[in-house]
Symmetry: C3
Subunit: 264 residues, 3 copies
């Protein structure tokens, strides 16, 4: 009875008519589809941030959901509009890496270039989100096969997250996201961190010339240091505070490189 | 034909993937449920503000709707995840008082502790909104009975709004919310205010050492003083201005204690 | 199978319970209707901005969709609540011009004053969005005819966008919107601009005493001047930059009057 699910991620904000035009176009074509806003508050033109958010949330979407991502500074230029058919979901958006992280996480089956104008609105040139990606997503949700929309392609843009480096007692890591609460999400997977730490419960965090002693906490309220490490719901190690912003306290932003050292 | 309604209130903001992960989990379990965002812009960790917003909006929800509230600084700690079965709606969230105001307004039938892991995702420890409350809400919307999810409990956390005090000619009141327009929502119910005021149409507002003359207005544009009292859509007396922020003009925030005196 | 579409535009923001109360009221009456948020971040009390956003997005809505607009500083006063039956959509809101631009774009068939209290909640006086416009929209989506809700009226408020003036080599224009990215949306339709420009590809922009040389670009990344003109997805000429805010760079806001001169 249900008509499928479409998830939308953009950097459009919510004050203009852009997001609603996309939704209107979708419901016009696929009146029974369910739309989930992933986020429209991705930092303007920040493809990596958008890719990270998709990477986190797409695994929770129902199978066969269509994910539309539009962080698209190259709109109207040479970058291709594409469809990625992953093992579980479809991804629709510009070929600039935005979709690649989430798609590779589940496994990519095929990639298609969007070509068939029968499934688009007349293109304005500056708003493919409305004119191309939304109608394409709606048609896919209705069962149109990607093969009908354009040819398979073998080359497409990829983004990769920086990998942490374990060097004996020291761990070099990078900040990949700071969330609404000021939690600092690192690139260190919880599993591999747990293996590395052995029996250590305390760590020294090095940020440039500054050093901080952190404990490993299990919950925000039970931590025994003011700033602490915590296994995040992201599957990644986070640096957090209880009811306060670790990002503000440490003056840390995405892209910062940090070091952790096990304390005896 | 309709598959039920779930309302969501959190302090998660909308820039991260958190809210969309909750919605994805819900639609995966209950594909036909309708989701209404109540607000995701509750001030971080502000349980009282969240409770007030639920108290205002839940009465308008369809019967049997499931209300999920997640303002949850104690996540991962000892506070229990609970279900409140009210006379008209179900409430799902942490046992920290967030749900209690709205639930008591309609009458509480039973309270349950969420225990049965069959109805949860694997818990990450820091995101019960996604791992516990969303799937539980989806299963309740699908007809699973709370009895199956956990045992009834008798003790649970409550919040109460401060009560106004009428002392003859004087009324002591408190600010409980300031809205988007800068309207100052007080804890004074319209009905009891109307009985107290008698024939008075003018009042002196006392804020610390400052004093202001206010009229009682029926609409924003017809008020005859610049700052005025108005019976709010909240059922509470509000202090407002026409096309301007009373909160900014008076430098008033939630929690402020004020006095009103009837003028002859 | 689908139960109709309702679009919502307000200046309510998203931190309070206002928007969710409207949605709850709608789903209570029309459980199968689909709700699209157009925007709730219209500048407070800015009727013209709201009218512009509706004007842009409504044409993309499915036929027979009901558009609810609430930017309503006159709530509780003498302005009438109205229904506009356009050629393609219904419009519900205050009679202050907010709905008129979008409705006139598609053609107005009839206008009705909302009178029949059978289709309203008990009016609080300060929140017609919840008490009047939402239930009326839900009943219209369910098939209740406007004739049953109130009498036809002949007079209603209109807004019009300022028109550009072409004076030979010079074009006088006005800024009607600045979007999330800082794109400056002018009142110059792409078609008439293209006729006026002839073969010119470069233009001098005059803002008070300041002058800038702009090219006409086809996409953000291919522009050959830093600030450029581009045919917008709005159907209007926009002044833009690549990955930067033209509005901030030029210190331009809605309402500014500008001049363009063709360069040889």
């Amino acid at each position: 009875m249900s008509g499928g699910v479409i998830g939308l991620l953009t950097d459009f904000g919510t004050k203009d008519y852009y997001v609603s035009a996309m939704k209107a176009v979708i419901l016009r074509i696929a009146p029974d589809v369910r739309i989930i806003d992933i986020s429209h508050d991705v930092e303007k033109w920040n493809i990596v941030q958008g890719a990270f958010i998709l990477w986190q949330t797409v695994p929770f979407f129902p199978d066969s959901a269509v994910i539309v991502g539009v962080v698209d500074p190259g709109v109207g230029g040479r970058r291709k509009p594409i469809i990625i058919k992953g093992r579980k979901h479809y991804f629709v958006g510009p070929d600039n890496g935005l979709l690649s992280l989430a798609a590779e996480k589940e496994g990519i089956e095929k990639v298609f270039e969007i070509k068939n104008e029968r499934y688009m609105l007349k293109r304005s040139g500056t708003f493919d989100g409305r004119d191309v990606f939304s109608p394409i997503a709606a048609y896919i949700a209705k069962g149109v096969s990607p093969e009908e929309i354009g040819p398979e392609i073998k080359e497409y843009s990829k983004i990769s997250l920086p990998k942490p480096r374990y060097v004996g007692n020291k761990l070099e890591l990078e900040v990949i996201h700071v969330d609404h609460f000021g939690n600092i999400i690192t690139n260190v997977p919880v599993d591999s961190f747990m293996r590395w730490r052995g029996n250590s419960n305390f760590f020294e965090l090095e940020i440039g010339l500054r050093k901080f002693k952190l404990s490993l906490a299990r919950s925000y309220e039970s931590a025994i240091t003011k700033i602490f490490l915590i296994p995040g719901s992201s599957g990644l190690i986070e640096i957090s505070m209880n009811r306060a912003s670790a990002s503000r306290a440490l003056s840390i932003r995405p892209g910062f490189r940090l070091f952790l050292r096990k304390l005896p």
